[in-house]
Amino acid sequence: MSPATVSDGARRFAPGAAALREQQAYVAGQAADARVNVELDTGDMTLNIGPQHPATHGTLRIACRLDGEQVIAAEPLMGYMHRGYEKLCEVRTYPQCTTLINRIDWLGSFANEVPFILAAEQLMGVEAPPRAQWIRTILFELSRIANVSLFLGDMGVQIGALTPVFFAFRDRERVLNQIEEVTGGRFHPNFDRIGGLKDDLPRGWIAETHAVMAKMRGFCDEMEDLLMGNEIFQTRCRGVGVIPKDVALSHGLSGANLRASGVDWDLRRDANPGLAWDQIDWRVWTHPDGDSFARYWVRMQETREATKIVDQLLDSIPSGPIMTKVPLIIKVPAGEAYVSTENPLGEMGYYVVSKGGLGPFRVKIRTPSFSNISIVPWVMRGTYVPDIITILGSLYFILGDIDR
C-alpha cells in the first residue's frame, strides 16, 4: 500500500530492479514499524472545553492537551464576553459607571459597586454617614451570601450531584428577596451612591433578615450533610488541585482561594476601607491544605461567618441620615485613588484616575476571577479531565469577572 512499492513495469525489469525492490521493501518495513509505534503510542489529543460548556458558567474556553484523560497542558482562552468596561467607564459620569460595574460579578452585584463608590468618595473627600456605612456592609455581606451559597450547591453539580444546586437556588432566593426589598433589584441593585445610599431600609426588614440568616445557616448545615461530609465528594476533592501558599501569592489569588492555601489575608480586616467590619466581632477562616476541598470548606465557613456578621450589624445599626451632602452633579477633583474590598470572589479593586470633571479619566478594574483563573495552566497539569471541572468549580469564577 505504500507508494514506495508501486513501481512501473519498465522499472521492474530494468537492471538493478532487484536492488530497488530490496530498497523498497526496506522502506516499506520501516514505514510499517513506524506505524505500529504510532498505534502503540497513545498520542495527544486536544480537547476544547468551552466556550459553550456547562462547567464554564458562561463562555470561558479551556484548550487542553490530553494524553488519554490526563492533562498535559491547559490554557484558558477568554474574551468571549469582553465588554471593554474600562474604556466605557472613561466616557461616562461616575453615577453612570455603577451601572456597568454592577455587571462585572453578576451574582454579587452590590459588592461590586462599593469599592468604586469608595474610590470616588476618597477622591472627593466625602464620607458616607455611619448608617449608610452599616447598610452598605450589610448589603455587601448579603451579596456575599447570595453569591457563595450558589457556589456551595454548584460545586455539587461539578462533581455530579445534581440535588445540592437546587437547594442552593431555593435558599439563595431568600437572600435575593431581602436585597430586592431594599434596593428594588435582585441582581443589579445599582443602589450605592457617592456619599451614601439611594434609600433607607424598609420597615420590618431587619427582623425578616434575621430570619433569613438563620435559614442560611440551616442551608450551610444541609450542604455539609449532603455534600461536604460525603465520602465521594471528599475523594474527588481532597488532594486535588493543590495550590501551595507561595504559588497562590505570586499568582495574585485572592479571597477564599488564597485563604484555603493557608494565607491569613482578608481585606475586610486588613485594609478596611471604611465600612463597618471593624465594629463587630468576626473571624477570618483559613485552611492549610490548598486543595479543592479546602476551598469549599473555607467558603462554607465564610458563608456562616457572613450570616453572623449580618446579624450583628443588624442589631447594632446606628440611626441617622443615609446620605451626606453632595452636589447634585457629581464632580470629582483631580487625583488618583485605589480602593479594593474583599468581594465574594476575592480582591476587587478600582484604580480611579480623575482629571476633574464628571467622569473618570481612567478606571483600572482589578477583578478577582482574572487572577484566580490565571493559575489554571499551573494547577491543571497532570490532572484528569474530571478534575479540570472540579478544580475550575472550586476556584469559583464568574465569567463577567474575568472578561469585564
Binding site: I159, L162, F167, R236, P386
Partner: protein
C-alpha cells in the same frame, strides 16, 4: 417449567401465541413500565430536589411522557458532518433493543412469562451487556471527542462491572440450583430459613452481600450516579449521546429508564422473591394477575433506591471506580461465591 401455557389454556395456535408474546414483550410491558416508571421518576426526583415537577400535562402531569415524546419527535434530526451515519443511526436502537430484550425472560407470574428459558440468568446478563456496545457505537460514530471519551469510559466501566455483577448472581444460582429465573423464584418461594418458611426465602436474606454487589454493579451498568462517568453532564456534556438530537436522543433516554426498570426487575426476581406472594400456592392462577402487580411494586421500590442514590451522591472519577471494582467488589463477590458454595455442600 410450568405445564400450564397459554396454548394449553386457551387453545391458541403457536403463531398466535408467539405474536401475542412478541407484542407483550416489545410493546406492552416496556411501555407500561416506562410510563409508570417515568412519572414515578419525575415526581420523585422533583420531590427530592425540592422542585414542583410536572404539573400541567394531564392530572398531576401524568401525561408528561407523551408530551416529552412529542417534543422530541418535533425536533430536527441532526447528524454531525463527520459522523459515521449508519453506525450513528444504529446505536440508539442497539441500546434500546438490549434493554427491551431483557423483559423477555422476566417472570411476572406462574404463567405470565414471555419465554421461560432454562438459561434465563445467562440470557439476561448477556443481553444487558449489549447496551454498552450501542454506547460504544454512539461514542465512536459521533465523531466528537466528548462522545468518544464517554464511549471509552463506558467500555472501561463494562469490563470492570460486568464481572462483579455476574459473580454476585452466581451466588443466587448456586443457592437456587438453576439458571432458570422462574425456578429461582420457586426456590425462594419454597425455601425456608431456619425452618420458618411462611415468607419463603428471599435471597436478599442469605445473599445480602451478593445483593449489595449486584445493586452497586447495576448502578454502574446503568451509568447512574455515582458511576455516571460515561454521561457526566458537567464534564463530557452528556458523553456518548452529546451529538444526538430529537428522536434518537429520545431512544437513549427511553433506554435509560427502561434498563433501570429491567435491572430492578432482575434484582426483584433474583433477590426479593419475585412475583410470589406469601400464603398463595405457587401455581395458583390468580397469581398471573396479582403477580405482575407485586412485581411492579417491588420494581418501583428497587428503582426508587437506584434513583435515590443517583440524586444524592456525587460522581466518582474513572480511576477511582476501577480501583473500587477490582480491589473491593470482585474479591468480595468471589469470597461470596466461595462461602455460598461451602454452605451449599455442607448443608
Amino acid at each position: 417449567m410450568s405445564e400450564l401455557t397459554l396454548t394449553g389454556a386457551l387453545g391458541l395456535a403457536y403463531w398466535a401465541e408467539t405474536s401475542i408474546k412478541l407484542g407483550v414483550a416489545l410493546v406492552v410491558i416496556p411501555t407500561a413500565a416506562l410510563m409508570l416508571g417515568y412519572l414515578f421518576l419525575l415526581k420523585m426526583m422533583a420531590f427530592m430536589q425540592s422542585r414542583l415537577g410536572p404539573q400541567d400535562v394531564g392530572p398531576s402531569g401524568s401525561l408528561q411522557l407523551i408530551a416529552d415524546a412529542i417534543k422530541f419527535l418535533q425536533k430536527e434530526d441532526i447528524h454531525p458532518a463527520a459522523a459515521d451515519r449508519r453506525v450513528f443511526r444504529a446505536a440508539p436502537v442497539v441500546v434500546l433493543a438490549s434493554s427491551f430484550l431483557l423483559f423477555v425472560v422476566l417472570p411476572t407470574g406462574p404463567d405470565a412469562v414471555v419465554e421461560n428459558l432454562d438459561t434465563g440468568v445467562f440470557y439476561a446478563l448477556a443481553v444487558s451487556s449489549l447496551s454498552v456496545l450501542g454506547v460504544l457505537m454512539a461514542g465512536w460514530a459521533s465523531a466528537s471527542k466528548y462522545a468518544l471519551l464517554g464511549g471509552l469510559r463506558a467500555a472501561g466501566q463494562l469490563i470492570a462491572y460486568e464481572l462483579p455483577l455476574i459473580l454476585a448472581v452466581m451466588g443466587v444460582v448456586i443457592q437456587a440450583n438453576s439458571l432458570n429465573l422462574q425456578e429461582i423464584v420457586r426456590a425462594q418461594a419454597t425455601g425456608e430459613i431456619f425452618g420458618f418458611g411462611f415468607v419463603g426465602n428471599p435471597f436478599i436474606l442469605t445473599q445480602f452481600i451478593g445483593f449489595l454487589i449486584f445493586m452497586i454493579s447495576a448502578q454502574a451498568e446503568l451509568t447512574q450516579t455515582p458511576f455516571d462517568m460515561p454521561v457526566a453532564e458537567t464534564e463530557l456534556v452528556g458523553g456518548f449521546h452529546v451529538e444526538y438530537t430529537g428522536f434518537r436522543f429520545l431512544l437513549f433516554f427511553m433506554a435509560e429508564v427502561a434498563t433501570t426498570f429491567a435491572f430492578s426487575a432482575l434484582a426483584t426476581v433474583l433477590f426479593l422473591g419475585g412475583w410470589w406472594i406469601p400464603g398463595f400456592d405457587f401455581d395458583a392462577p390468580i397469581l398471573n394477575v396479582l403477580g405482575p402487580m407485586v412485581m411492579l411494586a417491588k420494581i418501583l421500590l428497587v428503582a426508587f433506591v437506584i434513583f435515590w442514590i443517583r440524586f444524592t451522591y456525587p460522581r466518582l472519577r474513572e480511576d477511582q471506580l476501577q480501583k473500587f471494582a477490582w480491589k473491593v467488589l470482585i474479591p468480595l463477590s468471589l469470597a461470596n461465591i466461595v462461602v455460598t458454595g461451602i454452605f451449599k455442600v455442607v448443608l
